[in-house]
């Protein structure tokens, strides 16, 4: 074999090995940091999904392929039962030369239990596509605060539930919290998620999920079977 070609192959191999090692190192470092964070917060930690999170029927968990749940922190945080975890999936796009490309999407999620019996409700930040849909008349659920309508998209199987949950206080709080957070309610679960966050940035995510849970108006408990305060 030509020594030049051999050198090139070796360089490629070395590059692949370095890449694989770097990926492994990053993953291990995140696991260690999360394990430490879990210990500091008095929570349990599991590298893998031991709770069957992938069976939860949230829209987020039906997107793309290669869904992965890992780094689960679980237990009681500030009086609330939580499960915090990393979630990722990929979307495959075909390129013009016949190949395909995977685009990974990574999220940090918090799952809360509630005694509320929720119809499906999603509250996510507005995107280019939702704004486009709005402009041609395919509107989501519009609420009385125009500023909120511009910042968030609200969809639900039950409009009355959506209107009841998203009262003026909740909308004002969500506007103050900023557009980085998304929420999905279904059955007895509340899912709060954002783009993947560094371990030390997870406490605001936990706080946001807890605050959302607490901000659900009292009347919703009465109308939708919340039997005990959250």
């Amino acid at each position: 074999m030509d020594p030049g070609a051999l050198f090139a192959w070796l360089a490629i191999l070395a590059g692949l090995l370095v890449g694989a090692w770097f990926g492994y190192y990053k993953r291990q470092r995140r696991r260690n940091e999360l394990r430490l964070l879990a210990r500091q917060l008095g929570l349990g930690y599991s590298v893998w999904d031991v709770f069957g999170l992938m069976t939860e029927p949230f829209d987020l968990f039906f997107r793309g392929d290669g869904r992965r749940f890992e780094n689960v922190l679980y237990g009681t945080w500030q009086g609330v039962e939580i499960k915090e975890f990393d979630y990722s999936y990929y979307e495959k796009t075909e390129s013009s030369n016949g190949g395909s490309r995977k685009t990974w999407h990574h999220f940090s999620c918090v799952l809360l239990e509630t005694d509320l019996s929720c119809p499906h409700l999603t509250v996510v930040p507005e995107s280019f596509w939702t704004r486009l849909a709005d402009s041609v008349g395919l509107r989501d659920i519009e609420l009385e605060l125009e500023e909120f309508n511009r910042a968030f998209t609200v969809r639900s199987d039950d409009r009355r539930f959506a209107v009841a949950v998203m009262d003026a206080r909740m909308m004002r709080w969500m506007l103050e919290a900023g557009p980085g957070w998304s929420f999905e309610l279904l059955g007895r679960r509340i899912l709060c998620f954002s783009k993947r966050r560094k371990p030390f940035e997870l406490i605001p995510l936990l706080g946001t999920a807890k605050r959302f849970h607490e901000s659900i108006p009292r009347v919703v408990r009465e109308l939708y079977g919340w039997t005990s305060a959250g």
């Binding site: 519009e142 409009r159 009355r160 009292r218 009347v219 919703v220 009465e222 109308l223």
Partner: protein, 223 residues
């Protein structure tokens, strides 16, 4: 094919272009008719949603009217000299319960009742024994819950009206609205009236034990 020799008409006939054009026109007209039917039916169902959500408001208003006589009787037992206030609450309740007009008229009739109830609860604040009365506390809680449900029902009604009115105003659904006379609906807005009059103030704090000196006024929470 020489278009100059046979002309556009001849060319179109020979190539079947006329047939294609006719089918395209028929397709477009068909789509417009289907679109109009869908839009019309959506107006009908939206109007029905508005009626149903108004019925929810009406149910909660009736529930509130039903609670008021008991409330008056309970307060009377402790503050019998506030006769004028009791009469005012009873009169405004009767006027609100008798209002059967539009949402705006209903809102106008609700405002004096809300103001009178606000004053009734303000009076109750001055009677620690009344505030400790179980019946009064239970009525307060029920009234607060009814107010919450009423507010939710009102917001749902207004959300339905907002969606409907937007379609009445925007193109192309406004063409269907004007053709079939779908007029804009009224909102049910009592905020202004409540702000002016002061909403019924309902406190969930435990009343202090009766004492020789009057207790400090509790911070009331709105129900």
């Amino acid at each position: 094919m020489d278009v100059r020799r046979i002309g556009w008409r001849g060319w179109a006939e020979r190539t079947g272009t006329v047939e294609v054009a006719i089918w395209v026109i028929v397709g477009i007209v068909g789509l417009l008719i289907v679109g109009a039917i869908v839009s019309y039916n959506r107006f009908i169902s939206q109007r029905q949603f508005i009626r149903d959500s108004w019925a929810n408001i009406d149910t909660e208003l009736r529930r509130r009217y039903d609670l008021i006589p008991n409330l008056i009787e309970t307060v009377k037992g402790y503050a019998s000299h506030e006769r004028e206030l009791f009469e005012e609450v009873a009169r405004t309740r009767a006027a609100a319960a008798g209002a059967t007009g539009s949402p705006a008229q209903q809102a106008a009739a609700e405002a004096p009742l809300i103001a009178a109830l606000g004053r009734l609860f303000a009076v109750a604040e001055a009677y620690p024994q009344l505030r400790a009365n179980e019946n009064f506390l239970s009525l307060q809680t029920e009234l607060a819950n009814t107010e919450d449900r009423l507010q939710t029902a009102r917001r749902f009604y207004n959300a339905n009206v907002r969606d409907y009115n937007r379609r009445v105003q925007s193109f192309p659904s406004n063409l269907i609205a004007s053709t079939f006379k779908f007029a804009e609906e009224e909102y049910f807005e009592v905020e202004e009236a409540i702000r002016e009059a002061g909403a019924p103030r309902v406190s969930f704090e435990q009343p202090p034990a009766p004492a020789a000196s009057p207790p400090p006024p509790a911070e009331p929470t709105q129900g």
